[in-house]
């Protein structure tokens, strides 16, 4: 464990250094990541006002709270591994990882965390600014916040595991983009980004319950907003645990099969 901490620390430091080289690119990416929730927030606030003040159980202040927290949750749980893995495999860069006595996922997790720490400098002030602009209906309870942090931590890991598995599909297809696009679109609907899930039709809600997206994004958001009953919270954590385990097992399996394929055909 101590060894892993030291290795993670080294990965973290070098990733931070590397990403610091791409400040401008990072800022541009951040703009789109911030704009997305603001656009949906504006749309839904307009709809709510046109409908006489609310949509379902959401008032404009509820939407504001929802999208500000969602922006933070999505920022802290997203990953980009599936966009780079086919490059790693095609260019043979993966060979460098395979020659090292450590599983390559550790470097990716550390890199992701480094990015999140670096972008926190932008995302927190933005959230604060939105807080004053949109006057969200958000009460702070220390207990809720503690449970939220736990849900956020699990969400990060389960999402990372699932997306890393998705990245490994590149072992079998040379271009991953089509699959990534499908994952992105599904996620837009089913993780609660385009609209809070309880505003979606029943059939889509059932689908959202069965897939991981909701548990990785919408669940921590709704939890923080105090919109969930104790039973729903328990159910949410159960689903997170299931997907965390499923993601973990999927990685083992896909990685083993993928490396077997890679070592059969080379890069």
């Amino acid at each position: 464990m101590k060894h892993y901490t030291a290795t993670y620390w080294a990965f973290f430091k070098t990733s931070l250094l590397e990403q610091f080289q791409y400040r401008a690119a990072m800022a541009i990416w951040m703009i789109s990541r911030i704009l997305e929730p603001i656009i949906y927030l504006t749309v839904w606030t307009t709809v709510a006002q046109a409908r006489g003040g609310s949509v379902g159980s959401y008032s404009p202040a509820d939407f504001a709270a929802y999208y500000i927290v969602l922006m933070l949750v999505n920022q802290f749980t997203f990953s980009w591994v599936m966009h780079i893995y086919d490059f790693r495999i095609r260019q043979g860069e993966l060979s460098n990882f395979l020659l090292k006595p450590i599983h390559p996922i550790h470097a990716d997790i550390a890199e992701n965390i480094a990015y999140k720490v670096l972008t926190a400098i932008i995302i927190f002030p933005t959230a604060l600014l939105l807080f004053f602009l949109f006057d969200p209906n958000l009460a702070f309870h220390i207990q809720t916040f503690a449970v939220f942090l736990l849900a956020l931590g699990i969400a990060f890991l389960m999402r990372f595991f699932i997306e890393w598995t998705l990245a490994l599909v590149a072992f079998w297809t040379t271009r991953n983009e089509a699959i990534n696009q499908m994952y992105f679109t599904l996620g837009l609907f089913l993780s609660g980004r385009i609209a809070p899930i309880d505003l979606l039709p029943g059939a889509i809600q059932t689908l959202a319950d069965a897939l991981p997206f909701r548990w990785a994004v919408a669940f921590p958001v709704e939890l923080m907003l105090g919109r969930l009953s104790q039973e729903q919270i328990l159910n949410g954590f159960t689903m997170q645990a299931v997907w965390l385990l499923a993601g973990f097992l999927l990685i083992q399996l896909t990685w083993r099969l993928g490396v077997k394929k890679y070592s059969a055909v080379g890069s």
């Binding site: 290795t7 070098t14 080289q21 060979s95 395979l98 020659l99 090292k100 006595p101 070592s263």
Partner: protein, 324 residues
């Protein structure tokens, strides 16, 4: 030196399944329905072993199967036939104890992070290989001195020249003090000075640490300077395994005789094949078996000032090997 070899390869083979397709759109559509593949044997039934501390040159033309073999030895590729044991491990199992004790340097690939200073990439390897700070500083000191890295460590990799980068790549690959080094074209694309530098370093590293080295290179100077023994493969098959001198002995049926004469322009074509004739100096190629005979006649019949008998250049011998 122990008697147990560091590397043992028995009847090693690697067959790739390559999709086969005729050119053209029609063939492309057809390939959607029925995909035909063709087996390509990259490595065929190769056996050899390398003792601890030995430096072996692994030679062959492009596409001979050298890189495929090195990748199998370092665990990146799974063989389709035969057995490999490297320091007691089966490479493709990629056991941590195995990976901790080997390294693979590919002249055309890099592992250093492009945008950050070299020292930071090194630090990353230190953490991956779990090298203690004391050990790391010692190794880095040694490598810095031998490869003259001190000015480079603080520079980002992207600001380095190809030669500087290669020195850093090699150092990065050796920070964990591997027992076995697989080097695939470590001097490719480098100028003569840098080639010599890296060559000298590898020799010194091998002497200091008794590391086992398997090296491929297209530069015969690398091979002559470093390798007493060479393994030659061609079309995936092993053609020769033995001392460099034995290779020349076996594959070169000729010797080169250089004669300096007192008089100019003597026609020596009756003694052997004249390769060059410049001024008073004539170079002859004669069958090895006739060397003594021709030398005797030259000395007896001509006003010879100086005469030397040489082996042909190693490049020529290798060419001879591949043309057979």
């Amino acid at each position: 030196m122990s008697n147990i070899p560091d590397i043992t390869v028995q009847n090693l083979g690697k067959t790739y399944e390559v999709p086969q397709r005729e050119p053209g759109l029609g063939a492309a559509i057809k390939s959607l329905v029925s995909r035909t593949t063709r087996d390509v044997e990259a490595v065929k039934n190769i056996s050899f072993s390398v003792a601890p501390g030995e430096i072996v040159g692994f030679l062959g033309p492009n596409g001979a199967g050298k890189t495929t073999t090195l990748k199998m030895l370092s665990g990146l590729l799974h063989p389709t036939a035969g057995e490999i044991s490297v320091i007691g491990h089966t490479p493709y199992a990629r056991h941590k104890n195995f990976l901790n004790r080997i390294t693979l340097v590919m002249g055309q690939r890099n592992q250093l992070m492009w945008d950050i200073p070299v020292a930071d990439s090194f630090e990353r390897n230190r953490a991956i290989y779990r090298i203690s700070h004391g050990e790391y500083n010692k190794t880095l000191d040694e490598l810095s001195t031998l490869l003259d890295l001190s000015d480079l460590l603080s520079k980002p990799v992207r600001n380095l020249s190809l030669g500087e980068r290669m020195k850093c790549e090699i150092a990065a690959a050796l920070l964990h003090r591997p027992q076995v080094l697989f080097l695939d074209e470590p001097t490719i694309g480098l100028d003569v000075t840098m080639q010599r530098r890296i060559r000298a370093f590898l020799g010194e590293y091998n002497r200091r640490h008794s590391a086992t080295v398997l090296l491929t290179s297209h530069y015969m100077a690398d091979v002559e300077a470093l390798c007493k023994r060479v393994i030659i493969i061609h079309h995936g098959e092993l053609l020769f395994d033995g001392d460099l001198s034995a290779l020349i002995e076996r594959f070169s049926p000729h010797k080169t005789i250089v004669v300096d004469l007192e008089t100019e322009r003597a026609d020596l074509s009756s003694y052997g094949e004249v390769i060059t004739a410049e001024g008073n100096s004539v170079t002859l190629r004669v069958p090895k078996t006739k060397t003594a005979d021709v030398t005797g006649k030259l000395l007896a019949n001509l006003p010879v000032i100086d005469l030397t008998v040489e082996d042909p250049p190693i490049e020529e011998v290798i060419e001879q090997v591949f043309s057979n």
